[in-house]
């Protein structure tokens, strides 16, 4: 980990139906690891935060959030999940998923997973929502 995080991960395009049901996003920390996250929904130009949520992957709260309604307002907006995973000794693998759902059905996902010797890693996931 460095003092400055300058990497810009790619945006995963996720298509949704403008006339469909409401959108929601679910965050998952796989490999049964510990972690925390900040979820941001950015304006299409990536300069303004429209919605923000923070949480922990090991509390009792569901890591699922509804996106603004009606769905067309989210067209071209960018979802970002910045998570910090803490690896439990003996388990070197981690995986974080940001899953977008419409009407309860998965329509797209950004994810990152790997194996590391580090005790903690930062994961930055991004997805651009595209209405059609």
């Amino acid at each position: 980990m460095t003092g400055t995080d300058t990497s810009n991960p790619p945006e995963v395009p996720i298509d949704f139906k403008k006339n469909g049901s409401d959108l929601a996003v679910e965050l998952t920390c796989g490999e049964a690891q510990l972690g925390t996250y900040t979820l941001r929904l950015w304006s299409p130009d990536g300069l303004t935060v429209v919605q923000k949520a923070r949480g922990s992957f090991f509390d009792e709260e569901e890591d699922q959030f509804p996106l603004p309604s009606p769905p067309p307002v989210n067209d071209q907006r960018i979802l970002q999940c910045r998570a910090r995973v803490w690896l439990i000794q003996g388990h070197k693998r981690y995986a974080v998923f940001m899953t977008v759902k419409q009407g309860g059905k998965t329509i797209g996902e950004a994810s990152e997973g790997d194996e590391t010797e580090e005790a903690t890693v930062i994961v930055d996931l991004r997805a651009r929502l595209r209405g059609s």
């Binding site: 003092g3 400055t4 995080d5 300058t6 810009n8 049964a32 900040t38 910090r84 000794q89």
Partner: protein, 363 residues
């Protein structure tokens, strides 16, 4: 298992074993390979139920162990005259839940169904010396209903979670400060900058988290555990699986409890139905074992008392002791010696054993 299914099922097991174990065996002698570098918790090599069924001297006690996604265990490196040779017995053990569902497995899902995710399947093979000699195959299932060494289990390690939560919460607060500052400066691509004091504190928190993990792991070898297992052993007339027949069905219960940081008491029981080598009829056998370990994770001595009874035969009692020494990462030497009595007769037979054991978690 119905006999009609045996050839197909055991062929698959044997094929899987060759695929999984073959490369590992080829990599053992020099030990510089990635398998050993990936070795994780260097606890004593726990016998998989399938391998335990093939171990002639140790089959009455199934030692508890913490689940790993995939592991290979090899045993019995000595041939006639005590010369070292390629292992005669080997097993692969895997957790279907972790191996196939682990990538998306949430911590809470694991904690809510820990016994299921700790369920392990093992297959093992043991060959006798010489080509064309009899071969034994075994299949086992086990799970840990309780495992104090499992750091992911909040119910058995509440202190770990309490301390880890504080570390993680403080790190999250630092992340939030840095992220919000970046958000205020610019957009999504604005670099997130940690001040020197924030970076120093994050480094300290990371070091604390590592220490917390290590402190729990160092003392985990003698934690409380409760394992249950079942297994099946079949023997074939040769290495190709001809005349394969089921020889033994077995079930184990094992409970282990720590005594301070230096000792562990294990009590276990095994119930088995095995085929008599002369009459070819199945008979019921039962064993009870108690074993006391003392020392540290890497060097310990033990005292073991076993009583076994088979059908109408005399009760066999074995009193033994030994040592278990970790000579290098993943490689253990087991020394044991003991005396055996049959039916209370005083002319007890002395038995001694020297063995290498090695286990390599592959994932």
């Amino acid at each position: 298992m119905p006999r009609g299914l045996a050839p197909t099922a055991l062929s698959l097991i044997a094929l899987g074993w060759c695929a999984a174990v073959g490369p590992a065996l080829a990599q053992i002698p020099g030990q510089p390979d990635s398998l050993i570098q990936k070795y994780r918790a260097d606890y004593a090599v726990p016998d998989a139920p399938a391998l335990t069924l093939l171990e002639l001297d140790e089959g009455n006690l199934l030692r508890p162990s913490t689940v790993r996604e995939l592991a290979v265990v090899v045993s019995d490196f000595t041939g006639s005259g005590g010369a070292l040779q390629l292992p005669k017995a080997a097993a692969v053990e895997f957790s279907p839940g972790l191996l196939f569902l682990g990538r998306r497995l949430k911590l809470k899902q694991y904690q809510d169904n820990a016994a299921w995710y700790r369920l392990r399947v093992s297959v093992a093979s043991r060959r006798q010396e010489g080509n064309g000699s009899p071969t034994s195959l075994a299949f086992g299932l086990r799970t840990s209903l309780k495992d104090g060494a499992d750091l992911r289990d909040k119910s058995t390690n509440p202190a770990f979670f309490e301390q880890a939560s504080k570390i993680i919460a403080r790190a999250q607060a630092i992340d939030v400060e840095a992220e919000d500052a970046a958000e205020a400066r610019g957009g999504i691509n604005e670099p997130i900058v940690y001040s020197p004091s924030q970076q120093r504190e994050l480094d300290e928190l990371t070091a604390k988290f590592k220490e917390l993990n290590a402190s729990v792991a160092d003392t985990a070898w003698n934690r409380t555990a409760f394992d249950v297992a079942v297994g099946l052993r079949a023997d074939a007339a040769d290495s190709t699986g001809n005349d394969l027949s089921v020889q033994q069905l077995a079930a184990w219960l094992t409970y282990a409890s720590g005594v301070g940081n230096w000792a562990q008491l294990i009590v276990g029981a095994k119930m088995a139905s095995d085929r008599d080598s002369v009459t070819r009829e199945f008979g019921v056998a039962g064993s009870a074992v108690t074993r006391f370990y003392g020392g540290t994770n890497k060097q310990k001595v033990y005292l073991d008392l076993q009583a076994s009874k088979r059908a109408d035969e005399d009760t066999e009692v074995v009193l033994s002791g030994g040592a278990e020494i970790n000579v290098s990462s993943g490689l253990w030497v087991v020394l044991s010696a003991g005396t055996q009595w049959n039916g209370g007769a005083s002319d007890g037979r002395f038995r001694a054993r020297f063995a290498f054991k090695s286990g390599f978690p592959m994932k």
